[in-house]
């Protein structure tokens, strides 16, 4: 299906001038003008839920506005396909893999069905993540530019899965990774594209304190006591059970509450099982709040982040960790697993604390609860760090530059 990507009030590029400055906005328009007449298609595997869908939902309207027509294509597949791609996803992150040959067949068949359904003939085709990577087989002549955007950490992939996917990846013109650490020494050019957040989206915009309070009231969370929150989908790689264990250590020393809020994406079949594991670990503690939110809960998530004392993102593996970016933007100190793209965002003791264990996470929660001035300073540093590096306009500009560079190389 083709997805309409303009939730809420339509924002315009000029709206961002207040955040990033008018010169930045003007130069984006100048680069876009260079690309006039060119078309883009972006392809991913889910229209809602997860960071990729969020990024595209904000990016594509701005691409359209600056005069670069961009279509968002969402590949379709059955539950078997998404179970296979979930296993691929975990295996590419280094988790054990016990797949069978039929899984590769299922993967290729679903990609082929989508190749037949979606005509990928724009000047620039951007394929996001491994699920649709084999659609490169539909590339025709005359050649358009194909780019693979990898949002996950490929530093320690399972060799069976990676050796199956790699030949498809190396047929692209360029690849985009969130961090140099995630790359695999490909034969095609690799560029760093840090993911970004939209500072004006419902999930990140400023909120009235009354609204923030109302959200906490609705979920029965006491705002008079410290609140430690992790926002992420219920996924074992986000280690929600580890966060609960860390909180249980902290509770021996400090009176606080824990909020684990997230939902599940349509391409993640494990979400419910992980939520059950988290409920079991939480037991009957009334100060642990497990909130399974629908994917459109942007304002609620924003409020939970703004009203929390400390944000946690104790991921065991992470592509980039947009929830970290969101928390830093809201001037919250972040305690996060020292993995993946989190290392680009959480500068230890400057914008937050990096941890490697349940015990480390517990120790840093205790430390920041006891040192609110330091927590405040980290939050302020984090806001500036995001402003300089991880806002939507930077992502828009990077895509426009990439397309321009590819065009120039073709013009030769």
């Amino acid at each position: 299906m083709t997805t309409e990507a303009s939730p809420g009030r339509a924002l315009h590029l000029d709206d961002y001038a207040a955040v990033v400055g008018q010169p930045e906005v003007d130069e984006i328009r100048a680069i876009a003008h260079y690309l006039r007449g060119k078309r883009v298609q972006m392809v991913n595997s889910t229209a809602v839920g997860g960071g990729v869908a969020e990024i595209l939902a904000r990016l594509i309207p701005l691409m359209e506005e600056v005069g670069v027509p961009t279509r968002w294509e969402v590949m379709t597949g059955g539950s078997e396909f998404f179970a296979v791609t979930k296993a691929f996803h975990n295996a590419l992150h280094g988790a054990p893999y016990d797949g069978v040959k039929e899984w590769f067949d299922e993967f290729l068949a679903t990609n082929e069905e989508n190749q037949r359904r979606i005509k990928l003939d724009a000047d620039y085709v951007v394929i996001h993540d491994p699920q649709p990577v084999a659609m490169i087989r539909s590339r025709g002549v005359p050649r358009n530019h194909w780019i693979w955007r990898c949002h996950i950490d490929l530093s320690q992939p399972n060799p069976d899965v990676w050796s199956f996917l790699r030949p498809f990846v190396e047929r692209y013109d360029a690849s985009l990774f969130s961090s140099p650490e995630f790359t695999q020494g490909l034969s095609i050019p690799q560029y760093q594209f840090a993911p970004t957040i939209d500072p004006l989206a419902d999930k990140n915009k400023e909120l009235e304190p009354e609204y923030v309070q109302s959200v906490f009231d609705r979920f029965g969370i006491d705002t008079k006591r410290p609140i430690v929150t992790q926002i992420s989908r219920f996924d074992r790689l986000k280690d929600p059970v580890g966060v609960i264990k860390a909180y249980q250590i902290v509770r021996k020393y400090a009176d606080c509450q824990l909020v684990l809020a997230g939902g599940s994406a349509s391409d993640d079949p494990e979400g419910n099982a992980v939520l059950l594991e988290a409920r079991e670990a939480a037991g009957n503690d009334p100060d642990i709040h497990l909130l399974n939110l629908p994917p459109w809960s942007y304002l609620e998530i924003n409020a939970l982040q703004r009203g929390s004392t400390i944000m946690v993102q104790k991921s065991l593996r992470e592509g980039f960790g947009l929830t970290v970016t969101e928390a830093l933007w809201k001037k919250k100190p972040v305690i996060a697993g020292a993995v993946g793209g989190i290392l680009l965002q959480v500068l230890h003791k400057i914008t937050g604390m990096l941890v490697h264990s349940v015990e480390g996470c517990a120790y840093q929660i205790r430390y920041l609860l006891a040192n609110p001035e330091m927590a405040k300073r980290m939050g302020e540093n984090g806001h500036e760090h995001v402003k300089e590096n991880f806002l939507l306009t930077a992502n828009l500009k990077r895509y426009l530059i990439l397309f321009s560079i590819l065009s120039r190389s073709t013009k030769g």
């Binding site: 008018q22 010169p23 130069e27 560029y191 760093q192 990077r398 530059i401 560079i405 120039r408």
Partner: protein
């Protein structure tokens, strides 16, 4: 007010970060890689990183890695003290970096193969430039234009320009001296320390200096 015959042409400059294949895990490997990586990589980790590091101790990414990942503070300080403003070619800068590391490794041969906490990933800045269509023929117009530049474009005109010009100067000073015959103002701008201020702060300093001269 003095008017130039040849106007100053403002450029929009942006860059992508291209991830290289080279990775250094030790100081010995850092020295080896530094001899082999493309000029764009040396440029990216020294000149370009001036734009991005407000929070870390050093603006040179080599210095930052040597301190944070190798725990070799003295070498980190020496690398950080290599002033990119002294160089008009990457070759010279490359030689200075390699010399500092190799001298350190020669003094401490047991340390040079210690594995760092995390590897150094060599990257490269791939620049894309476009004329903005904005021109200046007077100091006031120049200051007005500088206010309208993005930070990356300011970096292009004021910092990376010395490699393009192969002169120890910047685009603004070069134009002011040659077109407006104001060598003193050109020299004043050239003395602004871009190592220790943010690009926003640098822009303010440049603008204030130029407007001060324009008001004379």
């Amino acid at each position: 007010m003095r008017q130039a015959k040849n106007p100053f042409q403002f450029i929009a400059a942006s860059y992508l970060i291209k991830i290289g294949r080279e990775r250094a895990h030790t100081l010995a490997e850092l020295a080896t890689c530094l001899k082999e990586v493309p000029d764009g990589s040396i440029f990216y980790h020294t000149f370009q990183s001036l734009e991005e590091h407000h929070y870390t101790a050093f603006s040179s990414e080599f210095a930052q890695w040597v301190m944070a990942a190798c725990n070799q503070t003295a070498l980190a300080e020496r690398l950080a003290a290599i002033d990119v403003a002294d160089f008009v070619s990457i070759d010279g800068l490359r030689t200075a970096l390699v010399t500092a590391i190799e001298e350190h490794n020669a003094r401490h041969p047991n340390w040079q193969n210690n594995v760092a906490f995390e590897p150094f990933y060599f990257c490269e800045g791939v620049e894309f430039t476009l004329p903005l269509g904005m021109r200046a023929t007077t100091l006031t117009e120049l200051a007005d234009g500088i206010c309208k530049l993005s930070l990356q474009s300011l970096h292009h005109h004021f910092i990376s320009s010395r490699l393009r010009l192969h002169l120890k100067t910047n685009d603004f000073s070069h134009w002011i001296e040659n077109e407006l015959d104001l060598p003193e103002l050109a020299a004043t701008l050239n003395r602004l320390d871009f190592h220790t201020s943010t690009l926003d702060g640098l822009r303010d300093d440049i603008e204030t200096t130029i407007r001060g001269w324009a008001a004379r």
